[in-house]
């Protein structure tokens, strides 16, 4: 079996991995829809978004690898870390759920990603700024897609509305993690690498409020629970996701793909 790599703990690397892993793990979850969507067009759309997210994660993990000082490439970072070294907020790793859950999680994350990409275009790191410029266009489309569906489902039938409300109730406890700062955010802001996540909260609430308002939905009250994926303490779901994702790299050490 292929052994795990060890990542140096630096705030800069953590900041990049938090973003890169959010894209990677979201892309992994969306990829699960391929062949199983409710309508052929949506099957294609979800796979297309998974593809965009995987592309974004490749760019970010490559950059993180360069900054690791250890010459790690995107695949070593994607496939050979131990669970605790993944830095995505927990929301990204929750199981794909039904279509309502997928759409509302996409709405939450694509809005959040769009806002962070907008800010990262001004990053002092030119490479990161370039990645953000390209990713922003994709995130805008993802947000639009999720918003259109949130409105259809919120307004559609009793059942679709009930499913949306259930999805939001499931998502809500994981939202604070997207907007609370720690030393990683402070360092990123101080160095000009990127915004502190807390600064995304207000514009995120405004944009979400607009879409959810049109859909006749609302975010539930926040809870006292705090998820901790971004510091490497994940949910029980993460182990299964990684076991599946990492299987070939682990089982065929020294393989060429």
């Amino acid at each position: 079996m292929q052994a795990s790599i060890q990542i140096p703990a630096t705030p800069e690397l953590d900041y990049l991995l938090r973003l890169g892993d959010t894209c990677l793990i979201s892309g992994q979850r969306l990829g699960e829809w391929c062949g199983h969507g409710p309508i052929l067009e949506e099957d294609i759309a979800l796979s297309n978004m998974a593809l965009d997210l995987i592309g974004q994660s490749r760019a970010l993990l490559t950059l993180a690898g360069q900054k690791s000082g250890k010459g790690f490439d995107e695949d070593q970072l994607a496939f050979l870390r131990d669970e605790g070294a993944y830095r995505n907020p927990t929301l990204a790793e929750l199981p794909r759920g039904d279509f309502a859950f997928t759409i509302l999680r996409n709405l939450v994350l694509s809005t959040w990603l769009k806002l962070i990409w907008e800010r990262l275009r001004d990053s002092r790191d030119a490479e990161l700024a370039a990645i953000a410029g390209k990713a922003l266009k994709e995130a805008r489309y993802h947000q639009q897609h999720a918003a259109d569906w949130a409105v259809r489902l919120g307004d559609g039938t009793e059942e679709s509305r009930r499913r949306c409300e259930a999805a939001l109730a499931q998502i809500a406890p994981y939202l604070p993690e997207l907007f609370e700062d720690d030393t990683v955010d402070a360092a990123a802001e101080a160095s000009g690498l990127g915004p502190a996540w807390s600064s995304l909260r207000e514009p995120w609430l405004a944009e979400m409020g607009e879409v959810l308002g049109e859909a006749g939905l609302a975010l539930p009250e926040s809870t006292k629970f705090r998820s901790t994926g971004k510091v490497g303490r994940h949910s029980e779901h993460m182990g299964y996701l990684l076991a599946e994702m990492q299987y070939l790299q682990r089982a065929y050490p020294g393989g060429a793909w």
Binding site: L24, G27, Q28, G31, E32, C34, G35, H36, G37, P38, I39, L40, E41, E42, D43, I44, S47, N48, A50, L51, I54, G55, S57, R58, L61, E74, D75, A78, F79, D98, F99, V151, R152, L153, D155, G156, T157, E159, S160, R163, E244, M245, Y247, L248, Q249, Y252, P253, G254, G255, A256, W257
Partner: protein
Amino acid sequence: MYTQAMDTMREEGGQPALRTAEEAALQQRFDNRIDAGDFIEAKDWMPDNYRKTLLRQISQHAHSEIVGMLPEGNWITRAPTLKRKAILLAKVQDEGGHGLYLYAAAETLGQSRDQMLDSLHSGKAKYSSIFNYPTLTWADVGTIGWLVDGAAIMNQVPICRCSYAPYARAMIRICREESFHQRQGYDSLLAMMQNGTEAQKAMVQDAVNRWWWPCLMMFGPPDDQSPNSAQGMRWGIKRVSNDTLRQKFVDATVQQAQVLGVSLPDPDLRWNEATQHWDFGTIDWSEFWRVVGGEGPCNRERLAMRVAAWEEGEWVREAALAHSRKQARKEKAA
């Protein structure tokens, strides 16, 4: 091929007696156009059987694309590198797109996508037998690209000249993408065979061993057992016979296998100097008929998975329709 079940179905019955002189004239005009190599458009008059045959062929082809998303989709979450994951996602998504073009082409003949899907879900409509085989290892994904998509290209390039123009147009786009699919599959196998470990090479050989014969079956039964072929040829729906295409595929693939460094699992495979073709062994047609008849390794799973996706998505489709009805009412009121 993707529409091989065309060869396995009973004919629709003979040409119905023409009722009027006007119809006879239309038939004559249609025949003349076919003979002249003209394309038929959706708005043009066409004989009922031509329409039915095409509808059945195009919808089978569309169903094959959609069911065909499942065996490879099975490996998206386990793809070994991010590059391979991205390629696989793009490829399976393309197959969904092919399904869309083809359903749209079939709709021009007067059947809705929902009707076609009902036929698939009820087991009435067929799809290619090849998708009833399991993808057991990562090398199966590359092998499907190389052999299954390679066989598909062989069959589908002639359909770009099909007499029914909407089908021909869809096929031109599809063939362009299929050639990318084949190359990525071959490239994935080549990476493992040239730079991989012994375990990976064994994985590739095992996949080729399992897929080779089912791929030869994709072209459908031998010409002398393909009763519908002659009519298909007459109408310009089918351009090249099953056996001719199969031979062409074997001839092209033997050399690719040599470059790859895998053997093809056929002790009778040898170059025939006289015919300038590769001779190959006897295909086990009992297996083909078993799989087409519903008794392949994955027939039940594949269909069950399509039905489950459709049923689980019902509330989504209903919600979208309800929303658009409400919107229409609002716009009308405004």
